[in-house]
Subunit: 195 residues, 2 copies
DNA sequence: ACAATGATACAGACCTGTCTCTACCATCGC
DNA sequence: GCGATGGTAGAGACAGGTCTGTATCATTGT
């Protein structure tokens, strides 16, 4: 995503790009405002004119990630129109590849929720809202795939999804993280093979 | 674990108890030395006489958790001697209950690794070592349970385990987190039912 | 008397957020 | 055409707070 181009993007975008990269790679609490402005070559007041506070910048970072995540989801499922069962499996196969990427550092929403534990933090609320949205989409797919118990399958798959995010950073799974796709296939087939 | 008793435990223990509770509940970076000494009623120099640094205290916290985790594991598996398949299922059933506990805040090792991303951090090394140990124990059980492909089952189960840790904090699974036990059972039976 | 501990002040670093000052550049009035 | 104006942005000082870690001194129990 995104190239260098004429090097003159507006300040707001440069700030958000830099913040997104640093927040994701090093963590939200670990990255200070000064680091962000230094790396994006922007004045401090440019940051505070575009974002009310660091919290606000964190929210913008998460909101942009929500859009990107939704686009990724749509892109993968669109390859198997009208076939929710294959769509679900494709999502987990793609997830297995994604966590193999050298830049992968876990799920930005899960990480944000882990770092920001204050229930009143708006960024935390965003992260939890994202997880609920994922849950709803998974549930709808489980229903239309004809799962015997959609609630259960949805819960199992979201467990697996969170596990893949956490594991990619901390564990060393087998080559290609084949465990992700195979576990998903086993659960999906087990839940839909009623007939 | 641990009661109040005569209120006069040595300073080192009081510090470690307080630090463990705060680190686990609020996060490592979010809890400062001053908070720990205030809550444990200890002088700052008593902390620094017993621990070389905050990093050192974090390591002690993780090391104690490793001992407790190993004890929990042994306690659960000891209930089904000589039956690795049931032992594995029992571990996940117990895990499903544990993440329902109101004080549950995820896996302390995963959280530590998420907060401390510097590869040179000794506490991070401890957390990763713990995950490797869990993996080895799971692998041994998968082998002795006669799994068709022990590597795969071990990877799948560790994914599920990490997912349960992450999900308990961020998602709201169904009642009793039954998804954890049911998913584990499905994967274990699927991998061992070769005969 | 002596070792362990409590209390407290302090140094130095870092963090967020505010403020001022300057430079550039487009647009508008004339 | 041309100077004035206003919006955007860079640079950097600064305030007020928090963090880790050290040093000093008083107190307590044995």
């Amino acid at each position: 995503m995104g190239g260098v181009e004429g090097e003159r993007k507006p300040a707001r975008e440069r700030i958000l790009d830099t913040a997104a990269e640093l927040f994701y790679r090093e963590g939200i609490r670990a990255v200070g405002i000064d680091t962000i402005i230094a790396r994006s070559g922007v004045a401090k007041m440019s940051l505070y004119r575009n974002f009310a506070s660091k919290d606000d910048l964190v929210c913008a970072y998460l909101e942009r990630n929500m859009v990107q995540h939704a686009a990724w989801w749509d892109r993968v499922t669109a390859r198997h129109p009208g076939n929710p069962r294959t769509q679900m499996k494709a999502l987990f196969t793609a997830l297995g590849h994604w966590i193999d990427h050298p830049k992968f550092q876990g799920c930005p929403f899960t990480s944000a929720a882990a770092e920001l534990r204050d229930p009143a933090n708006p960024a935390r609320a965003l992260a939890l809202a994202h997880k609920r949205m994922v849950r709803d989409r998974l549930h709808a797919m489980a229903v239309s795939a004809g799962a015997d118990d959609p609630d259960r399958l949805c819960g199992q798959l979201q467990l697996l999804m969170e596990g893949a995010y956490a594991a990619g950073r901390v564990l060393d799974l087998g080559p290609g993280n084949e465990a992700v796709a195979s576990a998903a296939a086993a659960l999906i087939d087990g839940a839909c093979a009623e007939k």
